[in-house]
Subunit: 220 residues, 2 copies
């Protein structure tokens, strides 16, 4: 992998993640080799975009033939660091937490949830998925150490997000995915991604308004 | 608003959405005027980035003084098309759907959920939030028309996502936010955003792996 010190656009990483799913579907459908046209059709991305995204990471496939379906999926997994298991803990088993715990695709991409935590005593001891039992937040530190967990997912209410992040960092987590609708602060050596569901909806509203504006401009 | 025909980066739109939340928090804390330093500190974005993001849409604030906190929030809402109500329906009241229905921030940004739909007969008639009652999917068309809904949120399993998108489009929805872990196809006049929670986690894995790689390179 001749990954240079080029900054890879976030949109490329997002698409690479999608390509894996499309390739695995195509592989399941019996395609051992795919062209960028077929992969593009399956992923709703232009073939040129696929070639550009892959070009950041080296040469893939054979000109005029295509890509080995399974091998490209494996190579992309390697690029994204999904070629090994990421032990993950989740804090906050409300509806969103429960939805993520049920999400089978996590496991397919190598994320294994080894602990689920909640502050509500009534939930402690409930089996949530794959034999994971809800533990009290006070057990977070022990479980992170025992399972050598690397990633923490925050699905607690906004008011508890910062203290949860602090506990994850103290426990030794190095990557955090925060779904709480508030930005949390972490030390510089921790990799943090804030996921804002609200901003996705805002973005849709922006695109819709803009579309209308453009349309009215054309009419006038 | 001197919005030109410049393509606004998606990351800018995402940050604008965050600025609204920070500004409303600062307003609540009593700041009537904010500098880009203070707003940046609150949002964890550099002041230069804030100025750049806003510059796409014109001139805001007074040099050396700052921005009117509430007025900037209102102007950003206008930019994003959040200055009016977006009537919204949601299909699929599983854990993720329920999480979104409970999400109070939607309402603060002008999204009003006027209908929630599920295929499970056992759920029909359950009150979910704000007096919204779960209806059967067969009622989707009627509700979209009656409420003049413009946005549809898809939180059904992957296998039902495409048929749900088709029903929303037939009903007259013009914008779709799809959370199902599969891309859906819609006619060109429909604005669609696919939200991939899996790709957020993949991105975190990529950043973590890359960080480790860089660190090992430095050491060697």
């Amino acid at each position: 992998m001749k990954q240079k010190d080029v900054k890879i656009p976030e949109a490329t990483i997002k698409r690479l993640s999608t390509y894996i799913n499309c390739l695995e579907k195509l592989d399941g459908d019996g395609y051992q080799v795919v062209s960028s046209d077929l992969l593009g059709e399956s992923c709703q991305v232009s073939p040129a975009q696929i070639r550009k995204d892959l070009s950041y990471f080296g040469e893939f496939g054979v000109r005029g033939v295509g890509y080995g379906t399974r091998s490209l999926a494996e190579q992309i997994k390697k690029i994204l660091g999904l070629d090994h298991i990421w032990t993950t803990v989740l804090v906050g088993v409300g509806h969103l937490g429960q939805a993520l715990l049920n999400f089978t695709a996590f496991r397919q991409h190598g994320f294994r949830i080894v602990g689920a935590f909640d502050a509500d005593p009534a939930k402690i001891g409930t089996v949530v998925s794959d034999g994971v039992v809800i533990e009290p937040v006070s057990a977070l530190d022990d479980t992170i150490h025992r399972e050598q967990a690397g990633i923490g997912i925050i699905t607690v209410p906004a008011a508890n997000a910062q203290e949860t992040a602090d506990l994850l960092v103290e426990g030794g987590i190095t990557g955090i995915l925060n779904f709480a609708p508030i930005k949390v602060r972490v030390p510089e050596n921790i990799t943090l991604r804030n996921v804002s569901i609200l901003s996705e909806l805002d973005n849709l509203a922006y695109l819709l308004s803009n579309r209308t504006r453009r349309r009215s401009r054309k009419k006038s």
